[in-house]
């Protein structure tokens, strides 16, 4: 089937098998390998991307054809104008990653959290990322990273994080 999708601000038209998952469409068809696959059962969240600038979705749980006519943002789109997104910077500053496999999904979930709730409490952050597993960090430095990014983003309200 032919689908039209905008990914990180760029429009794509591609033929896909109806059963192709969005995660594999992004990775295999578009070569955007920053989105990872970790569990096949919608449990780990390594594959989270942002849909239409407002929803965090597990791209392994959505068919590529369901993205027809929609806008997707992936980790590759976070950096804007040569500058790291405040979340990227915060994960780096706070040792919010170790092996880095969960990191793209973790950051995309956090982008959506901070859009909807610019000043989340620690409990709200933990709740928001509870669909994203991490085996390395114990989450403590991820929470710190999201808190730093929240402070940064609310200090500069003009910065729109992701092209949508």
């Amino acid at each position: 089937m032919k689908i039209s999708v905008t990914v990180n601000g760029e429009a794509y038209e591609r033929d896909v098998e109806p059963r192709t998952l969005l995660a594999y469409f992004l990775r295999d068809t578009l070569g955007l390998t920053g989105t990872h696959v970790g569990c096949d059962s919608s449990s780990c969240g390594c594959c989270v991307v942002m849909l239409d600038g407002e929803k965090a979705v597990k791209s392994c749980t959505m068919f590529a054809v369901m993205a027809d006519g929609h806008e997707i943002a992936t980790v590759e789109g976070l950096r804007q104008d040569g500058k790291l997104h405040p979340l990227q910077q915060a994960f780096w500053d706070n040792h919010g990653l170790q092996c880095g496999y969960c990191t793209p999904g973790m950051m995309m979930t956090s982008v959506v959290l901070l859009k909807n709730n610019p000043a989340p409490s620690e409990a709200e952050i933990r709740e928001a990322i509870s669909g994203n597993l991490c085996r390395c960090t114990g989450y403590q430095n991820i929470v710190k990273s999201v808190q730093q990014a929240a402070a940064e983003l609310s200090a500069e309200p003009a910065a729109e994080p992701v092209a949508s």
Binding site: V37, F91, R135
Partner: protein, 783 residues
């Protein structure tokens, strides 16, 4: 001489430098195995046995071969014909079927491989491989296996499920001491089968180039050189014709140490078809077939005086190894370093023995964030000490302080054969007790108990043994467990470090650069660290068992010092002084007694290529192969505080304090991160994670909805601190840390829960301490 002063924080070890590997990983620019796509690449998918034990009557490939895109279907018989039906297991004692031949020995065992033009085409055709099975009675429990009523391994000469017996220490003396002890405890504790489950599963791309005869093997490998040698020995391909590349690894934790059937089948397919073949595990394949850990049933016995002085320790273990003896242990240590089971305590005498059995379960026995069975040993002794404290009606902290090896006893020869390098156990536990406010917590607990509330405090004061290891004792398939570093300093004062290790999130790209910076006074931002490519890196045994810093880290420091020796000659040449008149001061060479007269390493590097010392070799590089003189012994004092809901059995971890002593710290931020992660895995093991089988041999935890990995919601908040007792025999005094928290924490959690339940008379519940198990224990207690 002009010098460019670098701020000292850019040089030294002990600084929380941000990680150099992060920029690519936070921008989706890491390169993990499944990100790699080669021209004309095919995809392998595997057929798995639905039965835990069954004869294979017939395999019909016809329909699968006719499926669109299918290029080949391989069975065990095909591999036998190719001479690759079996491969040696990790330590070489046993062999393992690549694909089931004759019979399948565990549920999900690999039975056939389908190679096709796409991942989807391969999985479609997997469904079309028709395998006729004749189910057999499975042996699921190792205690049932002892009877040999049903044989798991009919292929072996010895017609028994018993694999081996191992023992160390003095049996008779220990038994006599236990029999004569004033106080005596004995308890069976089970360290359950669990799985490392890194978020990236295992995988490979085998690329045999028919034109060059060279095999490039992309592997999720924690030990690329060892894998190259194994592939060469098993296939007969000369080692120079094998190039192993271990790309970015999405977590390993021991899971990515062994060689798995998928790698072998993919390689055979690539050799046969002459194109690259990719195999990437599904999560279910990861949890059901590759590298489980633990599964030790341990009878712990301790003798003591009435005053609480320990007099003897005995641990008798039954180990469930599954269908093959694939435990990842050094050759001479079939039960790994289990002899560390005397822990931090000065036992005058001890004995430990272990019997391993085959069952119809997946093979493994990997060191899951653990140095070869040290986690099991630490759990046994730390649970045992708490049971003894209870028997004596003594505070568990007091009992530990009374029995610790004293700092003046180091180097301490343990009764089971180790020589502990250094430690001050009293200082570290006292720091933990002070920091958490121990007396106040006990007072609070008494108040809560009076109200019928269940609050518990659990202590674990473990000693680890890591850094395998000295070549006299340690090898894997004959290869000694040294490690290596090669450092090249470029003319403009930047450089590259390569080692035989392979990080999977531990931060080597940063910490190795910091060691070089410390030793040579160069900017760590301009020291590139490269690992995982066997064509370029010097030979080493890889990253697991907390061996990277103790072994490769030492090699880096010593290779740097070799460079510094040569640099000194160049410095003398540049200053037109005698070498003896030049000294290394504050990261620079200085003319003795003339503080302003200095030469920087950057200047020396340039001179090494532009103005070499007449009559000597140009260039500035060194290699060091480090054979450690001893193991290292990191330790810690952990305290867990829990509250249990009587009605639901739910445990709430209210506080957890970890004081770790890993000797010299290279990067405190990274060490803290390692501890957070290890504690979280320890929490997971204590409360959630288990690979269980039902009595019919069916695997019950085949994905992340059944094999429970903690989320940010359950994971407690960690409080961490440290003491520092450097290792006297390590060039920079470092001991290794990545595994300490996973080794030490399970016992702290379980001790806390048992302490909470002690008013009810509950002595032991085996992990994972699920709500249901705790609730049942409360219900069945007399209270």
């Amino acid at each position: 001489m002009a010098t460019t002063e670098l701020p000292p924080e850019r040089h030294a070890m002990g600084v929380s430098m941000k990680r150099k590997e992060d920029p690519r990983l936070i921008q989706g620019r890491g390169r993990f195995l499944d990100d790699i796509v080669l021209p004309n690449m095919l995809y392998l998918a595997l057929v798995h046995s639905p039965y835990p034990h069954a004869r294979i009557v017939k395999i019909d490939k016809t329909a699968a071969l006719a499926s669109p895109g299918v290029k080949a279907v391989l069975t065990g018989e095909d591999l036998v014909a190719a001479g690759l039906g079996w491969i040696p297991t990790f330590h070489g004692y046993d062999k393992q079927m690549v694909l089931a031949v004759g019979k399948a020995l565990f549920q999900y065992q690999e039975v056939a491989g389908v190679v096709a033009t796409s991942r989807e085409a391969a999985f479609d055709a997997v469904e079309l491989v028709e395998v006729e099975y004749e189910p057999l009675e499975p042996v699921v429990d190792p205690f049932d296996a002892m009877s040999d009523t049903t044989l798991v391994r009919e292929d072996r000469e010895n017609k028994t499920n018993h694999i081996y017996h191992w023992e160390v220490g003095k049996r008779e003396e220990t038994d006599a001491a236990l029999a004569g002890a004033e106080v005596h405890i004995k308890e069976r504790v089970y360290f359950q089968r669990c799985h490392p489950a890194p978020l990236e599963t295992c995988g490979s791309i085998s690329d045999m180039n028919p034109a060059t005869g060279r095999l490039t093997l992309y592997l999720t490998s924690q030990a690329p050189h060892a894998h190259r040698t194994v592939v060469s020995l098993v296939t007969g391909i000369p080692e120079d014709k094998i190039h192993v590349i271990s790309p970015d690894i999405g977590g390993g934790f021991g899971n990515k140490v062994p060689v798995y059937p998928g790698y072998v089948v993919g390689t055979v397919a690539s050799v046969v078809l002459g194109v690259p073949v990719k195999w990437v595990e599904t999560r279910t394949e990861n949890l059901t077939t590759t590298g489980f850990a633990r599964d030790y049933h341990m009878d712990v016995e301790i003798g003591a005086t009435r005053e609480g002085q320990v007099t003897a320790l005995k641990v008798k273990t039954v180990a469930d190894h599954g269908a093959f003896d694939a435990a990842a242990d050094p050759t001479k240590y079939p039960a790994g370093l289990f002899g560390i089971c005397t822990g931090s305590y000065d036992f005058p005498i001890a004995f430990t023995e272990l019997d391993a059995y085959f069952t119809n379960k997946a093979p493994g026995g990997v060191a899951y964030r653990c140095s070869f069975r040290v986690t099991e040993a630490s759990y046994a002794i730390e649970r045992g000490m708490d049971l003894l404290a209870r028997e004596l009606a003594m505070d568990p902290a007091e009992l530990r302080l009374k029995n610790f090896v004293k700092k003046e006893q180091f180097p301490y020869p343990s009764p089971l054969g180790f020589v502990y390098d250094s430690g001050d156990y009293h200082m570290t536990l006292q720091k933990a007790l002070d920091k958490i406010g121990y007396p106040e917590l006990r007072r609070l607990q008494a108040e809560k108990r009076a109200r019928g509330e269940l609050m518990g405090i659990g202590i674990s004061t473990f000693t680890e043994v890591v850094g395998a290891g000295p070549s006299k004792h340690f090898d894997i398939m004959g290869i000694k467990m040294f490690d290596s570093a090669e450092i090249r300093i470029h003319p403009t004062g930047s450089g590259i470090v390569r080692t035989g290790t392979r990080h999977q999130g531990q931060g080597h790209e940063t910490t190795w650069a910091q060691i070089v910076a410390e030793e040579l006074g160069l900017d760590p931002q301009n020291i590139l660290v490269e690992e995982g490519d066997t064509d370029t890196a010097p030979y080493g045994l890889g990253t697991y068992a907390s061996r990277s810093t103790p072994v490769a880290g030492a090699a880096i420091a010593l290779a740097s010092r070799r460079i510094r020796e040569k640099a000194k000659k160049i410095a003398a040449h540049l200053m037109e002084a005698a070498e003896d008149d030049v000294e290394w001061v504050d990261y620079k060479f200085q003319l003795k007694g003339v503080p302003g007269k200095v030469v920087t390493m950057k200047e020396i590097a340039f001179a090494a290529y532009t103005n070499p010392v007449p009559g000597s070799e140009p260039g500035l590089e060194a290699t060091f192969y480090y054979d450690p003189p001893n193991l290292t012994f990191p330790y810690g004092a952990y305290i867990a505080v829990v509250e249990i809901d009587r009605d639901t059995g739910e445990t709430h971890v209210k506080r957890f304090l970890a004081i770790d002593d890993c000797g010299t710290v290279i990067n405190p931020m990274i060490v803290e991160g390692q501890i957070h992660g290890g504690l979280t895995e320890g929490y997971a093991i204590a409360f959630m994670q288990e690979i269980a089988y039902d009595s019919g041999g069916n695997h019950l935890n085949t994905n992340f909805t059944d094999y429970l990995v903690p989320t940010a919601l359950e994971t407690p908040k960690w409080e961490t601190d440290s003491t520092c007792t450097p290792s006297p025999h390590h060039p920079i005094g470092a001991k290794g840390v990545g595994e300490s928290p996973n080794v030490g924490s399970p016992a702290a959690f379980v001790n806390a829960v048992m302490d909470a339940l002690s008013p009810l008379g509950v002595k032991n519940i085996d992990m994972p301490l699920t709500r249901e198990k705790v609730w049942r224990a409360i219900r069945e207690s007399k209270a």
